[in-house]
């Protein structure tokens, strides 16, 4: 089987035309994230022109929450760190961070103010803490080149406390290991240049990640759970960051991802024959890119942006 490239491009291109479906309106809270997922899938297939750049940028800017300084997932929705990262990633993909203009200081303040005394970040002003938000905030500040020693050491300490007995990472210290959390915790340490803090645990973490591959080649998120295409990304990235990408079978995983494509509508689903969505589409494609298959644009495991884009971000710790 092969990648249905053109079908996937069409699928992503048509996502915004489904306004007669109830589901479209019930997913507004994820719209900006969805735009990033779609755009990133297009970038990886070198088909970014399928979206109109200026329209997308205008939409991103219209999602700004003037009261909080960050971005909501849709105009008039409240700012959250998750949608804020999507906004920044889209602007970075388009090399258009300058469009933030005078909004930038408030945006940076919004993100920095979410950090709590224990180094973690809350998602918005209501206090939900999750290592996902730490990663999201750190990536935002990294792209904006606004990290500092204080923020970095707090985030590092918190993320290290999320490491569990089995070599996986949890949502917060004490929480059970989950592959998505391995991605965000390892991604945070990688962006902050702190991977050496894990040296003694590297073998254990890598083993846990490699155990995620099940007999049919797919990867699951937790022991004894079903495989799902999106874990191709959450698990593989951790392995790439730790330098053990070859600890799972690439060909079998490729087959699994390709078997989750819809050959009629385009798009990729979580498991074969399920309904496709843009989330699984981008992470399936990104997984294939990370493995070097299908002649895709190379992706960076820590940022989920093209390597060429990441190369333009100033590395932390910054040289004075």
């Amino acid at each position: 089987m092969q990648l249905f490239r053109e079908k996937h491009v069409d699928y992503v291109k048509n996502l915004n035309t489904k306004t007669d479906q109830l589901e479209y309106w019930l997913t507004e809270h994820l719209r900006l994230n969805g735009v990033y997922w779609g755009l990133m899938a297009l970038f990886l297939m070198d088909s970014q022109d399928a979206f109109v750049k200026e329209e997308v940028i205008e939409f991103v800017l219209s999602c700004r929450d003037p009261k909080r300084g960050g971005f909501g997932p849709y105009p008039k929705h409240e700012a959250h760190i998750l949608s804020t990262l999507s906004a920044i990633q889209i602007l970075k993909l388009y090399n258009s961070l300058d469009r933030l203009g005078s909004f930038k200081p408030d945006l940076v303040k919004f993100i920095k103010d979410l950090q709590l005394p224990d180094g973690s970040f809350q998602g918005d002003r209501f206090g939900e803490v999750d290592s996902r938000f730490v990663y999201t905030a750190i990536q935002c500040l990294s792209i904006l080149e606004e990290l500092d020693e204080n923020i970095a050491s707090g985030a590092t300490d918190f993320v290290l406390r999320c490491l569990n007995f089995d070599g996986g990472f949890g949502m917060v210290p004490g929480a059970e290991s989950h592959a998505a959390q391995a991605f965000v915790c390892l991604g945070t340490l990688s962006i902050l240049g702190q991977l050496d803090k894990l040296t003694s645990k590297k073998e254990l973490i890598s083993s846990w990640l490699s155990e995620r591959q099940v007999a049919n080649g797919g990867l699951n998120g937790r022991p004894e759970k079903l495989p799902d295409v999106c874990y191709s990304w959450w698990v593989l990235t951790g392995m790439d960051i730790l330098g053990c990408l070859d600890w799972v079978d690439h060909d079998k995983l490729r087959q699994y991802i390709l078997s989750c494509q819809d050959d009629v509508t385009g798009g990729i689903s979580d498991r074969p024959d399920n309904q496709v969505d843009v989330f699984h589409t981008v992470f399936g494609i990104a997984g294939l890119s990370l493995l070097g298959f299908e002649d895709l644009v190379p992706v960076d495991a820590s940022y989920c942006l093209p390597k060429a884009v990441v190369a333009t971000i100033k590395k932390f710790p910054y040289e004075i």
């Binding site: 007669d20 479906q21 019930l26 209501f126 569990n164 059970e176 490699s210 079978d249």
Partner: protein, 345 residues
């Protein structure tokens, strides 16, 4: 027939579209009204009612949860006594519970409930929440959110103890021990409840620092290890195919938590006993199933490595090399991992 079927499905499709169009109109009207009220900071009963209607349709709409909390703080709670506020919160918890039952994996709903519990923790009925978790576990004993919620509820209970009790450390240790026993109960019910094994590892770390008097198995790290080995050994023989047990066993022998405080000789003896135990199980498995149990082999190679690092006996290295060869053959997906393992000894 085929034509008729096709025609019918077209009718159904059109009917759904029409119904959808109506639902969309209704939802968008509610949404626009609520978002305008949020923008203008109009916190009143009408806004509250709007949020109820919207969240009933779309519990993922986090902006509306935020608006709902704003209405509580700036309108509903204003000028009310603690007891009156508590009554409102209790009622709100019922609303949240109904939503949770319909959407047990929605982060925002759990989050809203936690916000309510923490609003005035002294008045919160934390034990009621523990009872609620049982209900979620009955439906799915590995519901991630429910386990996390359980830890948050216990943290809430412990914060109260810290504020109210004269000897908080003792009461907290007791509570931790009760949680530890709870994981034993969950594991005995179903050995492959990985979430329970995980929580157990966390509680052991806490209890080894401070434990109640009746918890004799916590008198030393050696005692803890011996009693955990007994549990995991039984579990491994009960369900040798389940990964939970093997992951836990790996932690006991290689995680570094026990090794640091146990005398080298005693630890070597425990390792040797375990090697013998796993070898025996591997044989039984091979006889019964006609094929190797990979978990036995993987665990064996890890145990042998620990033993080799302590005794430097050459025959152990040879055994490890043989095991690695077999693992590469039987589990080719992870071949490179086994090669790296062998190289790094």
């Amino acid at each position: 027939m085929v034509c008729l079927d096709g025609l019918l499905s077209i009718f159904q499709f059109c009917a759904k579209r029409e119904k959808d169009a109506l639902k969309i109109k209704n939802f968008n009207n509610l949404k626009n009204a609520a978002l305008n009220r949020q923008f203008n900071e109009t916190y009143d009963q009408t806004t509250l009612d709007l949020t109820t209607k919207i969240l009933d349709i779309s519990p993922e709409f986090f902006t509306i949860w935020n608006l709902r909390r704003d209405v509580f703080v700036n309108f509903v709670f204003k000028g009310r006594s603690d007891q009156e506020i508590h009554k409102v919160i209790t009622e709100e918890l019922r609303f949240v519970l109904a939503t949770m039952k319909r959407f047990p994996k929605c982060y925002w709903v759990w989050n809203h409930r936690i916000w309510l519990l923490k609003y005035n923790p002294a008045l919160t009925d934390w034990d009621f929440e523990l009872g609620l978790i049982e209900m979620f576990f009955a439906a799915d004993p590995r519901n991630f959110h429910a386990w996390q919620y359980r830890r948050i509820v216990l943290e809430g209970k412990m914060d109260l103890i810290r504020n109210e009790e004269e000897q908080p450390a003792k009461a907290i240790a007791k509570l931790n021990y009760r949680e530890f026993q709870y994981t034993t109960k969950m594991i005995n019910k179903n050995i492959s409840n990985y979430s329970a094994w995980h929580n157990r590892s966390k509680l052991i770390e806490k209890l080894s620092e401070s434990h109640p008097e009746e918890a004799q198995e916590f008198s030393s790290k050696y005692e803890i290890l011996v009693s955990e080995i007994k549990l995991v050994q039984t579990a491994a023989f009960t369900d040798p195919a389940d990964s939970s047990v093997w992951t836990y066993m790996r932690w006991l022998y290689t995680g570094g938590f026990f090794t640091t405080d146990i005398e080298a000789e005693s630890f070597i003896r425990l390792l040797e006993e375990q090697v013998a135990g796993v070898k025996e199980l591997a044989e039984i498995e091979k006889d019964e199933n006609g094929e190797e149990n990979l978990w036995c082999l993987k665990t064996l190679s890890l145990l042998l490595k620990e033993l080799f690092l302590r005794t430097k006996e050459d025959y152990l290295r040879e055994e490890i090399n043989d095991l690695t060869k077999r693992l590469i053959e039987l589990d080719p997906m992870r071949a490179e991992r086994y090669k790296d393992f062998q190289r790094n000894i």
